[in-house]
Amino acid sequence: MIGVLAAAAVILGAHPLGNMSVNHYDGLSVFLDRIEDTAIIDSAEIPTLQQRQGASGPPDAYAARACGELAGAVRGQVGEQPLAWRVTSAAFAYRPGAAGLPTSRLTCRLAAPLRVERPVTLTFANPYRGGAVGWREITASGSGVRLSASSVPTRSVSGELHAYPADLLSSPLDVRQARFTVEPGSGGLGAPARVPGADVLTRYTALLADRLNSLVGSDRLTVPLGLLALLVSLVLGAVHAALPGHGKTVMAAYLAGRDGGPRDAFAVAATVTLTHTAGVIVLGVLLSVSASIAGETVLGWLGVISGLLIAAIGTALLRSAVVRPASQHGAADGHAHGHGPAQGHGHGHGHFASSGRGVVGLGVAGGLVPSPSALVVLLGAMALGRTVFGIVTVVCYGLGMALTLLAAALTVRRLANLTLTNRLNRLRPYTATITAALVLLVGIGITARALASLL
């Protein structure tokens, strides 16, 4: 027992990567006006001793000098322009190591001015003390800018050189260079706002999406695995539709305000599924055929189209509600809603020029913006030669979306019926106008948001 404890104590003391190691970490953060590098050097016992021998004076002086050397050694480039690094802060501290010998940690914060006005490619390399054995890690993230095509991850797997993974199936990291593209905007790969700040729903969806990807890409895709993949995609679709930006409010309000009945709701659901599937497939094919199409931009524009479509429907609704208020149904009719199929058939013709077109329009608007995760699954499946299975997965995904939208619409409809009968019966004559206005507003909102992400 004592032996084990003693051994454990020894372990805690010794540097996990060997007492000769000099371990480097560069955490790059890109802002609209500058790039910052948190450069950390974790030196094991022997290099710490060597550096102590060479150093004279207080640790602060050493830190300043060492960070100055490091700033002179790191290389960064924006396009063809070299970055001019300067040291903004420098810190140095000893920490207890093995055999009574200290290890040390140098933390340099470097910054270089930068203007991110359009997409630019950034390259970074840290050759400082490149000969020594050790861990070398680089991460890159953005704040107020969007990172894409990054060769390095956003988060440090070593906890910024505090906890080195002891996994038998990973080699010590040896990343000495990074390359990525930054552009104004938020989100995208590497935006910190999206990773830690994401709501629970998004985070779990991401986990599920990963699971789906690994299912579709698994070596031996068997029947139970295939079914599981389809189920996961259904759930993912449902959750995706539950996230903001799909005009659920619109759809719900529209279906509630119109006396359409379940039939219309199913028409919407079918349209959503079809549109989404078609959208994902078309976009997937486009993306796999041409490397020059930026997926994010296409998604943005689809968002704009979707918003405009909803706004157009809202306008049409509003016009028909304002122009022909006389034909508005009375409260007595309202009680009959949903009571029988025959009634349902007769309704709606007065609200909008053509009920079919309105319903389909909403469905298209709801399904037009392909879900990125469905897209990823499809692309992955295509790369593995499982295109057909990928498409089936996407169909299930669309079905999942439709289910959520349906559920939302039916719930609102029910609630509306209850509320209306009880208290707000007086508002009944104006529901069509209110619905139409709401649809229009949401349409404008979605358009504006999509445009904002594009510009």
């Binding site: 051994a7 372990i11 990567l17 007492n19 002891a166 199936l169 031996r220 068997t222 599981l228």
Partner: protein, 460 residues
Amino acid sequence: MLNLIGRRPWLMAAAASTTVLATTVLATTVLAGAVLLGPAMNAVTATSHWDAPGTFKDKVIDASDLYAFTSPDKPDTVTIVANYIPFQIPYKPYQFDTNVQYDLHIDNTGSGKAAITYRWTFRNKGFPVPSLLRREHQAAGPESLVEQSFTLTKLRPGRPDQTLIRDGYVGPSDMGILITPGYQGLRQKAVLDLPGGGKVFTGQAADPFFSDNKAVNLLRFGIPFPPIATGVPMNVDSLAIQVPKSELALGGDPTANPVVGVWTTAARKSLNGEYKQVSRLGNPNFNEVLIPFASRDRFNGMRPQDDAGSGLVVESTRDPEQARTVERQAGVKAPAPPRADLEEIYLTGLTTKRGGPLKDDLNSQLLNRDASGFTSTEQLRLNMSTPVTAKPHKYGYLKGDKQGYPNGRRLTDDVVTVNLRMLLGEPAGPGAPGLIDENNPVYLTAPITGSFPYVALPVH
């Protein structure tokens, strides 16, 4: 059949979901191990000792595949192809070892002793490859840098050695149009006529190996390399020879003595000047599947004539370990040992004369009228009198295509799947034919050509 489909997918699904679990458990174990293993896990080593390479993959003597078939365009000749130095990356130079004898052996009596040996030896015409590797940035040097020449000798016991080719041209590694322009022409230059009829080709070619991934994984699971997708476009160096059947047949009479056995060996000169056999290949997968892991090095150094008395070859064939592994992995049943069927397939050839389970006079040297001294040996046996199949089946003999593997081996035979199915009991019993989907689109990496040397030009 039903049982197979019913059980397998669940088995696989269970395997897949346990992978995640196992990974978690593994990670935990490893973390715990880091503490419990104590000083041993520490990154400290002493340094004052002499430290030389201990693991070394010797690819220049690594024979990846051996083919032997009646030439489809010249049915009175036989083509034999031995591929060495596998997994060559395009645009990198590779060379044969100049201290190695690369041999193709022909046994027409079944004694395990070669009646004819074709021996290739090589000389460098430029600098050896390592000096070029070091100067990759200067790789745009003259073509001669990577060139070698070969000598082909025909050896027959009791007769003087006959040098067939001296200073023959070796088709070099295709280094792209800058260094090796007009590669098609270089390939043509490397196809040489043999005195007394026939042809020889020595040089780089696209690796013709292909198989179903699943078959490879099942048959070889847990062996040499972690998964290398089969049919990956890489190159090999081929030793190919096309000779009249009469030259190989016992007594020069392919009608009376139509069966020959073939294997290839590589022997390297040791420091005392003696050549030591370091690699041997006859039937595909035989050493890596039927011979137990611990004895594979031994098999590589053995002569076929010693197979029967070795206590290894016959015993391992009768009771193959790997059959049990595949049973476990795939949830199928292999016939119980002793496997007289495998013995007949790999060690004697198919014949009715030994009372084996496969009642077909197909490809045993016992069918040769004048043969004597027959013994059980592992070799790739070809009946040269089997007519060329118009539409060859990739599963060869298993599908009634008598000209296909294991009656010799054609470039289009999916030998891994055939070996897997034979391991599971075909063609003597029902086996497990559904294990590998027969309609799978496995394909040759590069299409073979219609005439000698058949193997395709190197891939890029």
